[in-house]
Subunit: 458 residues, 2 copies
Amino acid sequence: MSKLDVPYKIYLEESEIPSSWYNVRADMKNKPAPLINPATMKPMTFEEMQPVFCDELIRQELDDTTAYIPIPERILSAYKMYRPSPLTHAVFLEELLGTPAHIFYKFEGNNTSGSHKLNSAMAQAYYAKMQGLKGVTTETGAGQWGTALAMACSFFGLECKVYMVKVSYEQKPFRREVMRTYGASVTPSPSMETNIGRKINAEHPNTTGSLGCAISEAVEAAVSTEGYRYVLGSVLNQVLLHQSVIGLETKKACEKYGIKPDIIIGCAGGGSNLGGLISPFMGEKLRGEADYQFIAVEPASCPSFTRGKFAYDFCDTGKVCPMAKMYTLGHDFIPSANHAGGLRYHGMSSILSQLYHDGMMEARAVEQTSVFEAAEMFARVEGILPAPESSHAIRVAIDEALKCKETGEEKTIILGLTGTGYFDMVAYEKYNNGTMSDYIPTDEDLAKGFATIPNVNL
Amino acid sequence: MSKLDVPYKIYLEESEIPSSWYNVRADMKNKPAPLINPATMKPMTFEEMQPVFCDELIRQELDDTTAYIPIPERILSAYKMYRPSPLTHAVFLEELLGTPAHIFYKFEGNNTSGSHKLNSAMAQAYYAKMQGLKGVTTETGAGQWGTALAMACSFFGLECKVYMVKVSYEQKPFRREVMRTYGASVTPSPSMETNIGRKINAEHPNTTGSLGCAISEAVEAAVSTEGYRYVLGSVLNQVLLHQSVIGLETKKACEKYGIKPDIIIGCAGGGSNLGGLISPFMGEKLRGEADYQFIAVEPASCPSFTRGKFAYDFCDTGKVCPMAKMYTLGHDFIPSANHAGGLRYHGMSSILSQLYHDGMMEARAVEQTSVFEAAEMFARVEGILPAPESSHAIRVAIDEALKCKETGEEKTIILGLTGTGYFDMVAYEKYNNGTMSDYIPTDEDLAKGFATIPNVNL
């Protein structure tokens, strides 16, 4: 047992759920670059975004000066369904590793969507409802975001139309059924319901779909259906804002029990979890009030931070979305197969990209067999079977704790445990059978992706 | 929103996890009848049970006088991995139903096994380890008990061999992989590893297995392997004892927030969850200190309480286990197909059977489409996707809350939400597609099962 005198699981009181989100952009001297409209090559305006996004969400997207944005009462009620989430002291993992380090994990998987995605889904569905909309559309790959949105829409009484990448629709029927149970309609993409879907089906009759195509269909369906808008589960500034509830709760729990983190670790796909977890701590660092080591962990097969370029690029392969300045592998980059579906994105949040560019955080790329090794070690002593995505953060937390064992340092490490792996057993089966392999793109592979990054001079 | 002034989710402090289990038998005037040895027709002795069960667990099985049995320190540590579990005020369900009733649910699904089964698995694995054993065997059908035991064995460093009913092994590969991830070996039953398995395979080459056969194989493997014992996840007195942690926490949460339950509802398969949830409240009722209405809910397709006989019967179809006095449909009764795998048992805990026989509790049988209707209603407003088993309790809680709406009574209802339905999406898919049907055994079907109940005169 670890000697640090804190409860194993730290639950805050319901009254300690933060009443405002924290907008880290307000404390950034170098603001993240704005989204630009590829037609005008100028920053996207409120009016240009209106046909696609909900009004209040556009305001949040564009607001880079207000530090605290109050959480509406009804969203707070919804958060109480599954929050506060526990900050757990990984005493059994520490015991197993024999490390003097203290490891804590903020666990966001204790809800049926199985991940932190619900924090933003609840907010986005609420604002859509308040605007008097009838429904929202979105895309989903692995299915966590689609599930979270289906739950949020059912809670607020809103229609929900999910375009699910065809290969996932067929291979993950259980995820699909969870969404249907919450009343969402789920369409395999590419479908025959949209112009872009019909076009792609005509050109590639055997395609199993892609996230880029599903985004294009979801956007087309939103703009062409009365009373609908499109919503997105990661990358955008508004999503990181909503996810700050993770970091704010973590910070409050630390203050309550006198825990001072040295290192904060999160996995990074589009950046929603990592951004949410670190933002209040990053705010302190930006204001010069405290120092922390932040580590973003990404799969070696899709290394946006560690091997990507910091440039304007399209957010989607179909180029229907605006361009964002971010670390990118090129919008046509196709990540080699890996089982952390939520981390297979060519780009990265503009906020995190700017912070990384400014040297405020580090990044590491890890290979998937070492990730599953860490996942299994964690599951066996801490009980929770982690999502492959979250296990990237576990891998680096274990590595850091083992370094402490060598040096004797008593560092305090906090990691974001974004979710559970209950719908990822195909991946665990491969690991258990010893048939999992690692893929790392060659420089040549990357060069092909980089070639698709547009040449933008602003 | 409900006006009752309690937090939405009531988490106790870690220090409030009970330090002793409560043994309801101590307060029963009419003790549950003892297990009998079919060879001698006399009560099973400690020595007769020793080749099969762990010593300390036999002591707990036989002890019907000690009211409180201390929980060893290391089991308490293990409980802290996932306990205390929340008692949640179902404010959104109340709002949807428009009922004056107050509904609370004790949620036991917040752990990777997905159910309350872990409470007894941790205890049983601990005592096996303390006895210096090498490993344990068990059987599993739907897979929740097998998963819980695999987790507990990995936590305490014990080998775990699970015989999984062949049809489940093939149809539920994800459950199997969770067990393997926790280091358990999982064998489809009937196997070629045991005498009974080889015999059944020879006689029925195409059999897909049964729980009765898996039990027989697990017992044979335990008694024929050096350093092994057999463990069981329900029905037994020891299991109800361990599960009393559910009821003790519930009672403490009620006392802390001034909640006085009128009705306590739980689903009943072998009785482990229901028995655990109600026992401390039942103790009060037995001692004449308070009165509560207890409702056991079972599937109409396997109605042990509502249509069964109170008699000595074999606990398993293979007749390798002792006989127990219980409400039974006959050990050869084959329940018609339904999706609540955990409730498809021909018998019932002897403790609960005695209490039911003495008029201390009620029972209701419900049909599965109405159960899934309740499940979906619950999921959409309360967030959690419930297990089909747990949804039986939800069904009756909703029925009782709707009665209150008619009468205007402000009753307080507590239900046991035993687990999550993440591995039951095939059942939800059927419900979503409108292809689920209800099966109720005819009196003739039941008569065939009753004919297999042995004629015991003690």
